[in-house]
Subunit: 545 residues, 2 copies
């Protein structure tokens, strides 16, 4: 079982050093500490384990080091920043593993941009040595790319010519969409094994600046300070320590304090239950800080994040996730009010950021998501985002008496945008201003199934008599469909309307990469990825498809 919790004192591949407003994350991969046996992580190449540490380190900087405004990513090896994802690891991995690995690394890259955009945390890639493939894709996710200008250091995306696959972590998209490299120059860059040195890299827009080896540390320091000067991260704040999650995992599911995942292996489904606040909640900033990592929104988000990653990686055959909530609607709305009232405080902002990134993982999870809204549920405010992220939702209605209710609040209108950068309600109603205004008017009102259906907030309302059969049939039916068709279908329906870089990466670049990964020209017996390093040349089927 692959786990995603890490402690800085156990890092094998990264060193985190904090110096006032600037943190330095140094990549110094232990080549003998691969996550699974069978390959050596030479030349600062990475596998999932290296990236899990990076994810953990960034998370700790966000919460435990709030005074840090700029993070410098650099290398602890001589003349080599990072050689990218380890090729032998990729060559030996299953299709599903490769795809899931790329998804997680993509989310970590997106996470850098998310913190830069929303939370004032800036990133500099300080390329003190050659930076190839996935290494350059990490750099592309940073706010600035600085590069040492010597005779040997290059940046490159050699995946296509060298391995017969694509740069799998957003490289193609970010080169043209973010860096705005002209597309014919990008074509040369992405089909060249040799890469590009500093002068041309700067001219083409592949990096922001370069300096000689002697002057490079100065350049990095200067740019890091400049970015820090523009940041609103709080210089004097004390951090909030992220303690262990204390989750339990066994063959029947995952159990945390606020989140459970319960497996039904025969039905190929998992029921993922998120519980609302169960105790009186802190109201003031002082109380929030005193609660620390025990504050419900933060604790819940960390657990849900971990559960999503664990399920994706360890339970690929549980293809349908039933999203449930349990608790008191008013308690969730109260928590939302505290968040909204204190949204400018750094700790609340970071917690909102984690909620945003965690819910956004659902948007790109290749599992069917059904929200089931039953008697004990509390799909309100920020937890209603779970229902909005789902592919569809079912809600129980009572024939008589007060049935379950859902409710919106201010958190549903832009605080927690999906991967496409828009509120899920905005996407749901295709930006229809009238529909959105009506939805705003409903904020704070408890909606039973009929009202929720009328308002377009749920997919299906079902009364007590039909409820059990309806849910059972719905789950059985979905779980019987082709997993691949569902993955393509869900990826196509989840992001209607305008696209952004991140959805282009997930829903387009990843789709091409999935296809390329699966083709014999890459992973067949004579494929380029398979044969890399063997001394044998790949043999291609020359047909263009």
């Amino acid at each position: 079982m692959i786990t995603f919790e890490r402690r800085p004192e156990d890092y094998r591949h990264w060193r985190l050093a904090v110096d006032g407003r600037i943190a330095t994350l140094t990549l110094d991969v232990d080549e003998d500490a691969g996550l699974v046996p069978g390959y050596k992580l030479k030349l600062n190449s990475y596998d999932l384990g290296v990236d899990i540490e990076l994810h953990d380190a960034i998370q700790r900087i966000r919460f435990e080091h709030p005074q840090v405004a700029t993070v410098v990513l650099t290398s602890g090896k001589a003349r080599m920043f990072c050689a990218g994802a380890n090729i032998y690891m990729l060559g030996a991995s299953s299709h599903a593993w490769k795809v899931n690995f790329c998804k997680f690394t993509n989310e970590t890259r997106n996470g850098l941009e998310d913190s830069s955009r929303h939370d004032g945390l800036k990133f500099i890639a300080a390329l003190n040595g050659t930076c190839a493939g996935g290494g350059y894709e990490v750099a592309l996710a940073c706010d600035e790319i600085l590069m040492v200008d010597d005779l040997s250091t290059v940046v490159s995306l050699p995946e296509a010519p060298l391995l017969g696959v694509l740069p799998g972590t957003g490289g193609l998209t970010r080169v043209v969409d973010k860096r705005k490299v002209r597309r014919d120059l990008a074509d040369i860059f992405c089909t060249s094994v040799d890469g590009v040195r500093a002068e041309r890299a700067k001219r083409w827009g592949l990096i922001d600046d370069a300096a000689s080896p002697n002057q490079f540390p100065d350049l990095v320091r200067r740019r890091a300070e400049a970015l820090a000067a523009g940041s609103d991260r709080p210089p004097e704040a004390e951090g909030v320590k992220l303690g262990p999650l204390q989750g339990e995992a066994d063959d029947t599911g995952l159990r945390y304090r606020h989140v459970d995942a319960c497996y039904d292996r025969d039905g190929r489904t998992v029921t993922l239950t998120v519980r609302g606040p169960q105790q009186p909640q802190p109201q003031t900033i002082e109380e929030l800080l005193a609660a620390g990592d025990g504050w419900w929104p933060l604790a819940m988000a960390r657990e849900l994040d971990d559960a999503i990653l664990m399920l994706r990686t360890n339970e690929p055959t549980l293809g349908l996730w039933v999203l449930k909530t349990q608790g008191d609607v008013q308690a969730v709305l109260d928590a939302g009010r505290v968040i909204i009232a204190n949204r400018d405080h750094w700790f609340v902002r970071q917690t909102v950021g984690l909620l945003r990134r965690t819910f956004a993982r659902l948007d790109v999870t290749s599992r069917s998501l059904y929200a089931v809204i039953d008697e004990s549920s509390c799909f309100a405010g920020l937890l209603f985002e779970l229902a909005l992220a789902a592919d569809r939702s079912y809600m129980l209605s009572f024939l008589e008496g007060e049935g379950p209710a859902v409710a919106l609040d201010e958190t549903n209108f832009g605080l927690l945008p999906a991967v496409n950068g828009r509120a899920r309600l905005d996407t749901r109603f295709h930006g229809d201003e009238a529909a959105l205004a009506e939805a705003r008017d409903l904020a704070g009102i408890l909606l039973d199934a009929a009202a929720a259906e009328d308002a377009g907030m749920i997919t299906v309302a079902s009364d007590e008599l039909d409820w059990e059969d309806e849910i059972r049939l719905a789950l059985e039916e979905r779980a019987s469909l082709s997993p691949d068709a569902l993955t393509g279908l869900e990826a196509s329906l989840r992001f209607p309307g305008a696209e952004v870089l991140q959805t282009k990466i997930f829903a387009r670049l990843s789709a091409w990469q999935n296809w390329v990964f699966y083709r014999p020209n890459a992973t067949g017996e004579h494929g380029a990825l398979k044969l890399f390093g063997s001394g044998t040349r790949p043999q291609f089927d020359w047909e263009r498809v």
Copy 2:
């Protein structure tokens, strides 16, 4: 060898009837007239041959029947509009065939929307019977969808649940992006085998209107007339007849009057040469109409269109297309001036439309495209779009004396938008207004290699001494790379920036479909597509990827 020229008198599957402002295209598939042996086209299902006829019919309406303002697509069979792409054909086809088939049908659908958007030609899908899968995708490409409201007629996209593949012709994208169906309702619709009858279809936004069988013809006529009333297609104009192309094809290449394709099978490349005007060109509308289908822009576009389709379908291993032009730069600029001066005349508009759609085929062609600009070339104005569509361009520079030149004109600034709806120059410069203004200032000026390189119009300038080696090496290098990696790479780099429905279909939905088509869950021995109709249930690998 598959050919794409058709004559209405030879149609096997469509009937075209023109009645004043309204044309009716009736689908009445001859089930015994499949394009290749091995399947029967039952239930008005289609194969590539049926779609080639549709493409031809629409083309003839555009040019030969300029008075037609609305095209009604309907069925000649009882209770069945169209069952979609023939499943046995798909099940028996190679991966490359399926993908190429979907590309052509996609382009035909996009062509309907292109003519609606730019040229006032409107389309109504008159669903006088059940409309499933690809049949509904044809309807989605029309301006309005009308449906008979009876007990049996449904619309459906049953590909995922029935066949384990995606609706491959834009269905998923158009349902949410164009029809703005709420995405959870779309999820139900696209996973249901049974489909949706008129009342719900209208409520969900899947159709525009419905009527009982008795009242349906009236409804169709009323809507067709309403759309025609808003059209600026000329009610009194006489058409221009599209005569045969008189091309020749053999194992060495294709030869037309203005276009040649010359194969280098060892080098896996084809040189596609477009010749500029070779005789004095018509200047007035009367002269243009007298020239008819012999007018150079129209004749050249028809030949190039045919060549692109022939190469894609019949020569999949020629992975690199070298785009060349031959002729006089001033003659091409002259032709551009005549187009611009008469751009509001219906015949010029239609010719521009064909140029636009033909060049747009290059944008989505899964072949590497290199423009080679040498001594005899005339990459000017509308032919410069070929260089802009290419993945990169090489231009010969002379050490002394006047070398080859390229030139822009007004046709390069919005008349011929790429698939993403933007001028190729706009995409090239990422919408940078300053760069575009500089480019505008260059219109009409002959640019040699140095000037073109300075202006960012070409990728590589190479002098006489290096030219031959540089081109030879460039072609060899490209032709040596993995065809699949190149397909994914080119699809990712060609559309930086904002997306539109059409690029989402090509670069995203198609990528997912490629992957799904290639997976055993669809096309393996126990796959759903393979086993359809056999009575045997598919066996899925349940792993979600």
